[in-house]
């Protein structure tokens, strides 16, 4: 979906989330204050050891919470997702203590919002990801406003905007299995770049240094990966 007349691709690519590498880093603010990064923080994801991304039982467990306030189901979700949300927070630059609190808060929101979960709209993992992401945004905004970052008084707004729901016709095309399949089709390097930049919000220059490859290569890998995902969305893969 390259738009005719689009003329800003290169600069956008340099600046958007995925590229916070230029001197004008403030253009796209990195939401979380970055903790110093040791090289080992680039620790590998585990593509070889993936659990099935959307194992049906996660969704069943969420429904069990919604229907019966099932604490056993919650305990199983907690055991699996809480440590991953914590790791996600830490990889985003959140210090360990705050990451722990945000992970706990994420799981409490999973409990509270279980009735809102719609398996047709989001897979369980994607849904929990958005809860964690929104809490991270909230935490960052609170720190900017000088409010205690652990207070839970502010809720991310967009979730509640009805009009933000996706169109039913598009949903079938973007189920988690296909997203997973697209990720699996990426080369190891592309996947690494996507993971680092999307998930860890790391500056592209940092990624280039960490991986020992030129910045331009990071960008081209990222663009290829994005094109692949776009193809998936459009049903061309």
């Amino acid at each position: 979906m390259i738009q005719p007349g689009r003329r800003i691709v290169i600069l956008v690519m340099q600046q958007a989330l995925l590229c916070l590498d230029l001197p004008r880093r403030t253009s796209f603010a990195s939401p979380m204050p970055k903790a110093p990064r040791a090289p080992q923080r680039l620790a590998r994801m585990q593509p070889g050891k993936r659990e099935p991304a959307e194992a049906p039982h996660w969704e069943v467990l969420i429904r069990a919470i919604a229907a019966d306030q099932d604490r056993d189901a919650f305990a199983r979700l907690f055991a699996y997702f809480a440590p991953r949300v914590k790791a996600f927070m830490q990889r985003s630059g959140v210090p360990a203590d705050a990451a722990e609190e945000l992970a706990q808060e994420t799981m409490i929101n999973v409990w509270r919002k279980a009735a809102l979960f719609d398996a047709g709209t989001a897979g369980a993992a994607a849904w929990i990801f958005t809860i964690a992401r929104n809490l991270r945004i909230d935490a960052y905004r609170r720190t900017q406003r000088g409010i205690d970052a652990t207070a839970a008084e502010f809720e991310f707004e967009l979730e509640t905007d009805d009009a933000m729901q996706p169109d039913a016709a598009m949903i079938a095309k973007q189920d988690q299995t296909r997203v997973r399949a697209a990720l699996d089709q990426l080369s190891a390097e592309q996947l690494r770049v996507v993971e680092l930049s999307f998930f860890e919000q790391q500056a592209h220059a940092d990624i280039a240094a960490a991986l020992g490859i030129p910045l331009g290569t990071v960008k081209s890998r990222l663009r290829l990966a994005m094109n692949r995902l776009r193809d998936l969305l459009d049903g061309q893969s």
Partner: protein, 216 residues
Amino acid sequence: MSIQHHPDDALLSAFAGGTLDSGQHVAIATHLLACARCRNFVRTMERVGGSLLTDVPPAPMSSNAFAAVEARLGEAPPSRPVTPSLPEGETEIPGLPKFVRRYRFGRWNWVAPSVHVRPIELPEPGQTRVFLLRSGPGTRLLQHSHTGVEMTCVLAGGFSQEQGHYGPGDFDLGDESIDHHPVVDADGDCICLVAMQGELRLAGLLGRLMQPFVRL
């Protein structure tokens, strides 16, 4: 009327990843409200986030974490803060996401002949100013560029510039490299939501003469 101009994939991913500042978040959200296609790409990127979440090597929780959480399950959810809505009697502005309507809106200010801006106050300080821009029919905005990134989403009416015509929902991104030369459609006001970093630079002799008088 279909939307012709979209944010690019990297920007949509930044939205999905939660890494935009709040002003830019507002601009992208405004486009998403109008654009099912981009909304669905954001959903896809959220699924990418879900996949990555399941892949990340877990970080052990503290030993009492589950007990602490379980003890709180019975708590009532926090009440939402009361946020202001558009003042009574204000004309409803189409195309704004609900959450933006809860922000505080300033007054319409004159900035140039037939051009007014209305600031939107974000709840937290940031690099990006957000405002509504209303331009009269046929207004030829002075050619300009930016010292930072400027995102524009059309709410009502339309304008044309080098890249084509922009109508409701269309999104434009400008930066230092772009000289804008927009001309508002002849048949009515154009209202845009703008998220702007840095300063506006007017081009040409007239623009340089005007610069001190354009209060933007």
